[in-house]
């Protein structure tokens, strides 16, 4: 078994700070490199996000298997659920589950909706989607490689239920960007 944060307090704080900045500035890439020794299947940014956000009281779903799955179960202490719709946090290391199958909260408790962390092949600013919405002054460009083809349609459906909806954290290596449910995505024309 490999260890997690070298310093649990500062590690969790740094990861949380990166996530908070990412959520406040949708689409802007943050670095979070606090996990030097990880099971191969896990991206450092995604693993750090999971460690910072989850604990014994948050059901987690993941498609990770073997060492990566054991590492998540052991270090987060979170109950791993098989049914993605029952999870409060999800980590997709390969194909992401359909957004419509996840818990999007209720009008009374929209804050209880799921947060989906996805590991991607690549993430770059300056090209790709045009993002607008709260936290973005005019527009922001983000290019994410490795999402399903119908992602834009899934996202539009997710946005429709506002204030309910799933929040997304996109990760590649030690970098991450967030798409909160309030962000509009326009595909690059």
């Amino acid at each position: 078994m490999r260890p997690a944060f070298i310093d649990p307090v500062f590690g969790a704080q740094e990861a949380f700070r990166a996530l908070m900045d990412a959520m406040a500035r949708p689409g802007r890439i943050q670095r979070c490199d606090v996990l030097p020794d990880l099971p191969e299947a896990l991206a450092p940014a995604a693993a750090a996000a999971l460690l910072a956000l989850t604990d014994a009281e948050t059901p987690v779903w993941t498609d990770a298997t073997g060492e990566a799955r054991d590492w998540i179960a052991f270090h987060t202490g979170a109950p791993l659920v098989a049914d993605a719709s029952k999870a409060q946090f999800l980590l997709a290391t390969r194909a992401m589950p359909k957004l419509s199958t996840l818990d999007s909260g209720t009008d009374e408790t929209p804050q209880d909706s799921a947060t989906l962390i996805v590991q991607l092949d690549a993430l770059a600013e300056g090209a790709g989607w045009r993002l607008t919405g709260p936290g973005i002054e005019h527009e922001h460009r983000l290019d994410a490689a490795g999402l399903p083809d119908d992602f834009a349609a899934q996202w539009a459906a997710n946005r429709k239920g506002f204030p309910c909806g799933v929040d997304l954290v996109l990760c590649t290596g030690a970098r991450l960007a967030a798409l909160p449910r309030s962000t509009r995505i326009e595909e690059a024309g």
């Binding site: 604990d55 014994a56 009281e57 179960a73 052991f74 202490g77 109950p79």
Partner: protein, 372 residues
């Protein structure tokens, strides 16, 4: 007109410095250590743990020292500290039937399996101040010892239940109980949430309510079927192990309070019971909790709920002394703007009242006559 102002920093830090000096008291006397509080003021520690809803004797002792002996302030400090820690896991429900009993008495049966064990109790003391305690340095007498039977003690309520004279609680399974520290309290409140709320409630409030049920506010005629205090083993199943391990022992006090129940169309007349469980040695707390627990079952049992102790909303929303002290004591905080608006409103009402009176002196005379 008042406006929002900032200030008082210097006054606050001077006040806190004086507080620290007051806490220490006369420096010619030795300073009290948390370890001394833990050992020698153990029942205060137990109360702070129960009301702080966090079992940790050392932290509770430190909180008592910091709070200068104000136990509600100490419970507040302990709750605040507790909030900085993450919850790793939940334990398996503790088995009070397997308690290593230090004290166990029954007011309903003289001869019961396991016997009446008095333990370290204030009962049967004369409540005469013991001036020997004021003279330091006298070691207490060594406690006596006797051959101990190894068997655990059956619960008294189980003896009655076997005869069908006592309602049984529905046997508990492994379902996760609701948690009032995670979800707001719903009404009507399920019993597991009521018990959680009472377990951390203010002892004085619970005592007063329990007493009120005995005095006729509610229809109670209670007996202590059993009161027991001792150590229970805490079992926890970490996910990395997949099985439960014993992680330590804690002392708890348990009270089973028996009440009569007239019966209903579905149930024959039988005894019913209220339940109290307290961290540490807290007999008064466990007994009062059991009385109030039973009172709060009134509606479920088809009894008329007329007394304060039977009103879950009244009891559960006012039992928590940290919440209560927060709301009462917040009145000390500046309400300058609130009060200014009240003042202006009152001035304008008075002015109108005076104007009405000046305009219509006859009405004033009539009003005077009416009061005579």
């Amino acid at each position: 007109m008042y406006v929002a102002v900032k200030g008082g920093d210097a006054a606050i830090s001077a006040a806190h410095a004086w507080l620290a000096q007051r806490r220490r008291g006369d420096e010619a006397l030795p300073e009290l250590s948390p370890a001394q509080i833990e050992e020698q003021l153990g029942l205060a520690v137990d109360r702070v743990m129960a009301e702080g809803s966090c079992h940790d004797r050392g932290l509770a002792a430190l909180a008592i020292k910091q709070a200068r002996g104000d136990l509600i302030e100490a419970a507040f400090l302990l709750r605040a500290y507790r909030n900085t820690l993450s919850r790793f896991a939940a334990c398996e429900p503790l088995d009070t039937g397997a308690m290593r009993v230090q004290r166990r008495i029954s007011a309903t049966y003289k001869d019961l399996p396991g016997g009446q064990v008095l333990g370290p109790t204030f009962d049967y003391t004369h409540r005469l101040l013991d001036f020997a305690l004021a003279a330091e340095g006298l070691p207490p007498a060594e406690p006596e010892e006797a051959e101990a039977a190894s068997a655990t003690m059956p619960r008294v309520t189980e003896l009655l239940a076997r005869e069908g004279l006592m309602s049984r609680d529905i046997a508990g399974g492994n379902e996760t109980p609701p948690d009032l520290t995670r979800e707001p309290l719903p009404f009507p409140t399920p019993r597991p949430l009521r018990l959680q709320s009472l377990a951390r409630g203010d002892e004085g409030f619970l005592l007063g309510l329990g007493y009120s049920t005995q005095r006729g506010y509610g229809n109670a005629h209670p007996f202590v079927a059993e009161l027991r205090m001792g150590e229970v083993e805490i079992m926890l199943a970490p996910s990395e192990l997949g099985f439960a391990v014993s992680i330590g022992d804690i002392t708890v006090t348990e009270c089973q309070m028996v009440n009569q129940f007239a019966g209903s169309a579905h149930n024959p007349p039988q005894f019913t019971r209220g339940y109290g469980l307290a961290m540490g040695h807290g007999e008064r707390r466990a007994m009062a909790m059991a009385l109030v627990d039973r009172a709060l079952m009134a509606t479920e049992m088809g009894e008329e709920a007329t007394a304060p102790a039977q009103d879950a909303e009244f009891v559960l929303l006012h039992a928590d002394n940290v919440e209560a002290t927060g709301f009462v004591e917040h009145l000390k905080l500046p309400h300058h703007v609130d009060f200014q608006s009240e003042l202006e409103k009152l001035r304008s009402i008075r002015a109108r009242w005076q104007a009405d009176r000046d305009a219509n002196p006859l009405a004033e005379a009539a009003a005077l006559e009416a009061t005579i």
